[in-house]
Symmetry: C2
Subunit: 325 residues, 2 copies
């Protein structure tokens, strides 16, 4: 398996489609980097890009990408609902395959150093790459945003990790960091009563004593007309999907509410599906092994056993990594 990282750069333009295209076009010169998803948001006036590739090549591609964004975006003329401090606001590195968190921290440091040297923009290291407690939380760093940070950055405790203590006049500042892969996972409940997913979320989430790697809450889906338990799984090896799914079904029983399905938002590693399918194969004494299935087979099995809806091979990370896996 090749060494693969995911990065999810967020940049501060979500309305001007031509500008967005020109910024994304910077990746055309980097054919080994897969642009998996580009998601502009008009209200936020912000675009989230999902990239996959090898560390070295990823850093080169991101340096070019930031170079284009500097020329395209002037934060003095930017407004939107999402907090931001930079034209490129944040770039997290996420270990995917044969890469450790330590590698991703090293990548974040390397990219931060190069961005500062090449473009004279201040860089903050955040999340797992943070150099002190205050900088673990991105919102904590970003507080004050582009406008307020012109003063904030001059305070000794808010000097950037790379660069002089002043904002770039049009770009602002960027946060570069490393964090674990998250699975965004939602379970559908056939009711409109939000109290039920709220109670179930409390039963399973870490903050109320539940599973260590689960963040969860209730959500109401207006268009579909039912509620969900919506969650992030921060470590699918320790808190596998099947265990969360079965626990939610068990809790739902006391409310006599049907669990009609579930969905993955964004991407999921093949390994996360294989591990959870193995549970159902064990229970049902199915003789083959889910890890032997191809991606189409995994999708079918996940639709059946984990009741995933709106699912396809495109949501499995490995489908974007080519045949050399």
């Amino acid at each position: 398996m090749p060494k693969i990282v995911e990065t999810v750069p967020n940049f501060s333009e979500g309305r001007d489609q031509e500008k967005i295209k020109r910024i994304i076009a910077s990746f055309i010169n980097h054919p080994d980097i897969k642009v998996v998803n580009v998601e502009p948001d008009q209200d936020y006036n912000r675009t989230v890009v999902t990239l996959l590739g090898e560390s070295e090549k990823m850093i080169d591609a991101l340096v070019d990408f930031v170079g284009v964004a500097i020329n395209e975006i002037d934060l003095n003329h930017h407004e939107g609902q999402h907090p931001r401090m930079g034209a490129v606001d944040v770039i997290p590195f996420i270990p995917i395959s044969e890469v450790s968190m330590k590698d991703c921290i090293a990548d974040a440091e390397k990219l931060g150093s190069v961005l500062n040297k090449k473009y004279d923009i201040p860089v903050f290291l955040y999340a797992e790459a943070a150099r002190n407690e205050e900088r673990v939380s991105l919102p904590n760093i970003r507080k004050g945003e582009f406008e307020g940070m012109k003063t904030k950055i001059t305070m000794p405790e808010w000097h950037p990790d790379f660069g002089e203590p002043r904002m770039h006049p049009t770009f602002g500042a960027v946060a570069v960091g490393a964090r674990p892969f998250l699975i965004a996972y939602n379970i559908d409940l056939v009711t409109k009563d939000e109290e039920i997913p709220k109670a179930i979320a409390k039963a399973i989430r870490k903050s109320n004593g539940g599973f260590q790697y689960i963040q969860a809450g209730p959500a109401y889906l207006d268009q579909r007309g039912h509620v969900q338990v919506t969650m992030n799984i921060l470590d699918y090896k320790k808190n596998p999907i099947y265990r969360i799914f079965e626990t939610v079904k068990m809790e739902a029983k006391r409310y006599h509410v049907e669990v009609s399905g579930a969905e993955i938002i964004g991407m999921i590693p093949k390994d996360a599906l294989v591990r959870s399918l193995q549970y159902y194969y064990d229970v049902m004494k199915i003789d083959t092994e889910p890890k032997e299935l191809d991606l189409d087979g995994i999708v079918k099995a996940a639709e059946y056993h984990l009741q995933l809806r709106d699912f396809s091979t495109l949501k499995i990370i490995e489908s974007h990594l080519g045949n050399d896996l």
Copy 2:
């Protein structure tokens, strides 16, 4: 409801039945303190006493009890398998009813101060009552035991919290503290394969990413000829028994192993049973409320729904608290 604490003093005599009787007899003068359980262990040469009562009266009773133990036990002539540093080795305060952890810490401090003043014995505050990180763990304080602590206690970092930095010549030293109520709970699996409860324990315990208030491991019951998942529930409100029981049953399915029953070791609050029975009443749409049941009714319901074996009203704390509850 009256303000009730539990204390569990451990003293260093487990063989001489007459001596044990004389020490326990100190509680005869304190009729408001319930002696719930007295459990001598010959190998340990140590006796564990479980008491229930109001804080003020509990402190008076414990002061008398320590006074008798000082006269009865000389640690210079004590040997046994359990580590110990004092004739009375440890006294934890545990909140039971209408009492907070803060109250129990205050009780521990008060008892410690009185014991030192009255008998000139050094007192260490431990667990929630500890005044620094090093003293949270009782084994950490007790390391060196009666013999080694004669030197250890003279070191500035191991001066006692109450008293001069020297051991009492025959009594030694005592640890007084506060800790939450634990439910010791074991689930029976019909197999001799210890790998199965080991894997299930990992799925549910905090240390491997499971429920926050569960400590769990595997055990083999020689006489009964099957294994168990053995655990402590540190907070039954956040990690209720039914949720653990149902999760263990769900995990056991993949091994095709029957869950034949479960047991409570020591005591359990009525509230812990009522909360878990409510789940099954909800699922089965039973119209009455478990909190309306008397203790006999709760025992019957717990035997049925939670599959508790060897259970009786005597294991429910409230059965020892009299009719004034």
